[in-house]
Symmetry: C2
Subunit: 226 residues, 2 copies
């Protein structure tokens, strides 16, 4: 079976990384074999949801948005709880950033696999990267390899998790977007942790994005707009 | 560290198996170290949620109920979709019963782990069993072993998943409940897939429960009530 005979589901957040993954999946599996899944989990940067829908429509891939109300009920993390300030500081006890939602990517990929299962979709594509500054342990390759095995066993499937950005720096991710012809699409994406447009430019996510474009020597079309 | 120094979280559905596990956890870890977590995922047998709360209150363990609205959005399974008849028949394509929600236990245990994580709870206890007639692949020991590894990697924890009923027949589960002094509590539980009380007596879940009690030679106090 060649890659173009397989079907892929991209976990599309509406950000730079997952949008680059969408272009990557289309090149690898063909436009007709790619769809996207987005999760509405009560994130404070809800503009991402609109971006994800807009990006899927512009590119022409089917997209579904599934609700997850559980993270908000779990409480206590800065991405869903507006009473908590977002900082780039790590928690003294856990050594993890206060934007850490325990198990978030495990849940996303499990629901993606559950969506994929009856639709005979073979591959889940996620934009997580070990090189991400935040160091979320559920973004690491060993977690994804273990989860792939859990999902295969738990759903009796051969589902595969692919994370094309896993070992890329932000600079290399921007270069990949360039090579895939996806730079223009970066104008449709959202990155800022403060959920504002134009982006705040000062949060950790904005700074990381700016550094990636600068190091790649490419102008960020999102900033050129504003 | 002895068992009584550890904290355990029991996934409590309000059914016979998870209630037996609650007694098992209290005997092993001590009443003061046990709490319970229940998921409101839009199940059609919502009476289970009331049973779970009632059981936790009667026994005196803290209980939390978390919503999961995602399974209903995924659609197409008989446990959450009232347009689909519950039968004990298997799907011709997948060879799985039509009550199968792909990945349900993976999601439950991941959210349980996320709840446990900031609370320094070491052990997750689940009532799933390989001997369960329905043969859900995410109830098998190899799936749980793999998931435990995924959760440890993804949350940087030493969380342990314990499934004390894994290799017990329904008869042996009833005998375990007897040995733990939990038979009386079985009157507070709910099993019937049709969500009625007194139980319908004819669905696959009722039949399985009745056979377990009959084979153990113990009267089901739930039936003695009605």
């Amino acid at each position: 079976m060649t890659a173009k005979d397989r079907k892929a589901l991209v976990v599309l957040s509406g950000g730079q990384d997952s949008t680059t993954c969408l272009y990557w999946a289309i090149e690898k599996f063909g436009l007709e074999n790619v769809s996207a899944i987005t999760f509405d989990y009560g994130q404070r940067h809800r503009i991402e949801l609109e971006c994800a829908q807009d990006i899927a429509e512009r590119i022409g891939v089917p997209q579904v948005c599934l609700p997850i109300d559980t993270f908000a009920a779990l409480g206590g993390d800065a991405l869903t709880d507006t009473d908590i300030d977002i900082t780039s500081q790590v928690d003294e006890v856990t050594s993890l950033p206060n934007t850490f939602v325990p198990g978030r990517n495990i849940v996303f990929l499990t629901f993606a696999a559950a969506w994929a299962w009856p639709r005979k979709i073979d591959v889940l594509v996620t934009g997580v990267a070990e090189t991400d500054y935040s160091g979320y342990p559920d973004c690491r390759e060993n977690t994804l390899a273990s989860l792939q095995e859990s999902l295969r066993l738990g759903m009796e499937s051969n589902v595969e998790i692919q994370a094309p950005l896993m070992h890329l720096s932000k600079k290399e991710t921007v270069e990949l977007a360039r090579d895939l012809g996806a730079i223009e699409a970066m104008a449709w994406t959202h990155t800022c942790y403060n959920g504002v447009r134009p982006p705040c430019g000062s949060c950790a996510a904005c700074e990381l994005r700016a550094r990636g474009f600068a190091e790649a020597g490419i102008e960020d079309p999102l900033l050129a707009q504003s």
